[in-house]
């Protein structure tokens, strides 16, 4: 909508306790103006509680939330002026599509003729022009999703909140809507806070991802850093697939099975370490051993064909198992693997990621 300039959100030491459980345990989070920020975490991690605190439906026990310079932690929801897309859309079943989208304008006492124009504009933005007279129960899931979005942006909020808005859609439509939402965000430019438990969705859509668990911020960074350089085992485990191997450490030098590892970045912390391997970063090596890679020898235990990719479980000499994922192009070294055959795996130093070993 025209004339929207985004607002930054500053969350400071926000805490919410339900009985003995901390839903939010002192989270600090600065969301930049115009940013697409995803709150990612498993169910019960506190990500939804945080979003509800932003919308005003959950009153935190302590902490501060500021939209721009304005402290809003005590502002009731209907005065916060933020758009929100609910998980089940929450479209009013007794109103038409136009009635739903026009409702926030009606509440703001916009003139009737202008409401009609702006509703049609908003519907066109979500590619539902001309759907105004439809009843809500005549819409498909994807269309409901778009109407909910139109209703959330029609009054030109400077902040948009979304609570797992795509979780009710099937996989193909979901992936399509991810890209579309991303484009819409680029066009409208409002600060967007998006909650999901789907790590792939988070990686696809976000400028930055805040990974949350047990009400605490586990890592805040760009999708690339979150995936390539997870700060701890939880993030590495929750985002993407990974194999963890215990490594021996003496000072800066780290070795696995007696062989020293080349690493792209030195370990950040003191103490015991784990080697994290993403299955698709391992390559099957044939013939001449290339220079500069970390090599692992093992035997193929199982092959699983999954269409676009295939997965191999490889047992290393010490009995630990690593997963290797590859595209299914014909004629590659991976394509020639057979169960029981000996195999050498190579890992680039930049993909050799060390994370702290926690309990």
């Amino acid at each position: 909508m025209p004339g929207t300039d985004a607002l930054p959100i500053t969350i400071t030491a926000i805490t919410k306790r339900y009985g003995e459980v901390f839903a939010l345990d002192g989270i600090d989070l600065a969301i930049r103006s115009g940013e697409f920020m995803t709150l990612l975490g498993p169910s019960g991690s506190g990500k939804t509680t945080l979003l509800m605190a932003l919308a005003g439906f959950t009153r935190p026990d302590s902490g501060s939330i500021r939209f721009g310079d304005r402290e809003i932690v005590l502002t009731p929801p209907h005065q916060r002026d933020v758009g929100m897309v609910f998980q089940n859309y929450a479209l009013f079943p007794h109103m038409t599509v136009a009635g739903n989208v026009g409702y926030p304008l009606k509440l703001r006492k916009v003139a009737r003729a202008e409401i009609a124009t702006r509703v049609e504009q908003a519907l066109e933005t979500v590619q539902l022009g001309g759907y105004g007279a439809r009843r809500v129960d005549q819409l498909s899931g994807g269309q409901k999703q778009r109407v909910a979005l139109a209703r959330a942006i029609v009054f030109g909020p400077r902040i948009l909140l979304m609570d797992e808005p795509l979780s009710a859609l099937d996989k193909k439509l979901r992936e399509h809507m991810q890209i579309e939402l991303r484009h819409l965000h680029e066009k409208l430019g409002m600060t967007t806070v998006y909650v999901t438990h789907d790590q792939r969705e988070a990686l696809t859509m976000s400028d930055r991802i805040a990974v949350i668990n047990h009400g605490r911020l586990m890592q805040l960074d760009t999708p690339r850093v979150i995936y390539d350089r997870p700060a701890n085992r939880f993030v590495a485990d929750f985002v993407g697939e990974s194999t963890f191997l215990p490594v021996d450490r003496s000072g800066e030098s780290v070795s696995f099975a007696g062989r020293q590892l080349r690493v792209g970045a030195p370990p950040a912390s003191a103490g015991a370490l784990l080697l994290m391997i993403r299955p698709e970063r391992l390559a099957v090596i044939e013939g001449k051993m290339p220079e500069g890679l970390n090599l692992f020898e093992g035997r193929v235990r199982e092959l699983v064909y999954q269409g676009d990719t295939a997965l191999a479980a490889v047992a290393l000499a010490d009995g630990t198992e690593v997963a290797v994922r590859s595209g299914t192009r014909s004629g590659t070294a991976f394509d020639r693997l057979a169960v029981g055959a000996a195999v050498v795996l190579g890992l680039h130093p930049d993909d050799t990621v060390l994370i702290p070993y926690e309990g």
Partner: protein, 300 residues
Amino acid sequence: MARPATIPDDGPNAALLRRDALRERRALLGLASPAVVLLMVVMVLPVGWLFYLSLIGEGGGFSMENYARMLESKAYGRIFMTTFHVSFLTTGICILLGYPLAYFLSQLPPRAATLCMLTVLLPFWTSLLVRTYAWLALLQRQGLVNTWAIDLGLWDTPVALVHNLNGTLIGMVHIMLPFLVLPLYAAMKAISGDYTRAAANLGAGPTQAFWHVFFPLSLPGLFAGALIVFVLCLGFFVTPAVLGGGKVIMVSMQITNNIELFFNWGAASALGVVLLAITLLILFAASRLLRLDAVLGGGH
């Protein structure tokens, strides 16, 4: 890719599968038969018998005189008017009292709601007759209500609270309230909190969110409850008979009179048939106006 529209009769196992499907249908029919027999015995036969009786005149032969009398006599018209008047008022008062009560219950946390619901249900489970006579004791001239009101200076001389329309309405509203509150409460519980949250998010204050969103969504439940109350009121006997003191004559009481005083089964049956017809007419009209599946407890 065109395929024949008919299923081939001669596919493998086609005959066996067809016989199996037929057997399954018969088995299901067998399971339903006790219910069908029960309905015949307790519902279709009595109503049919009632209808038959209503067509028997005093002479013993077929005649329409029982219906003709209803059209001619002003007394019958008055009785029907009273019946509708009382039912209408009772339903209206039940809505005014029941809606806020159901709303209050629906907003309580589960445990408190169960506890409060008990206070609605407990009288519901107590004998109708006991409750009616309890009201008689409370409302009479020297009853608790009058003596307290006079002691508190609300009024000076005992007010006639019973043996008239007032008493009838007080008693009937009390008896009927659960029939309104229960379906309404269920309907309100089914309204997702997300709707009012969405309204608030879009800028509606609590009052606006209630009138714009919650209230319209609760209307099917309200109609369902009101319809049940209204239809039950039409045929209500005990409470108006005891608390009306003979001044409020409803159809059900006239039916009793016809049988106990005049031994005229034909006239009583005709009244019953007309009452049933009117009730069905109201249900039909309601089903046209609203969606009856909500009233009769159909799923979504």
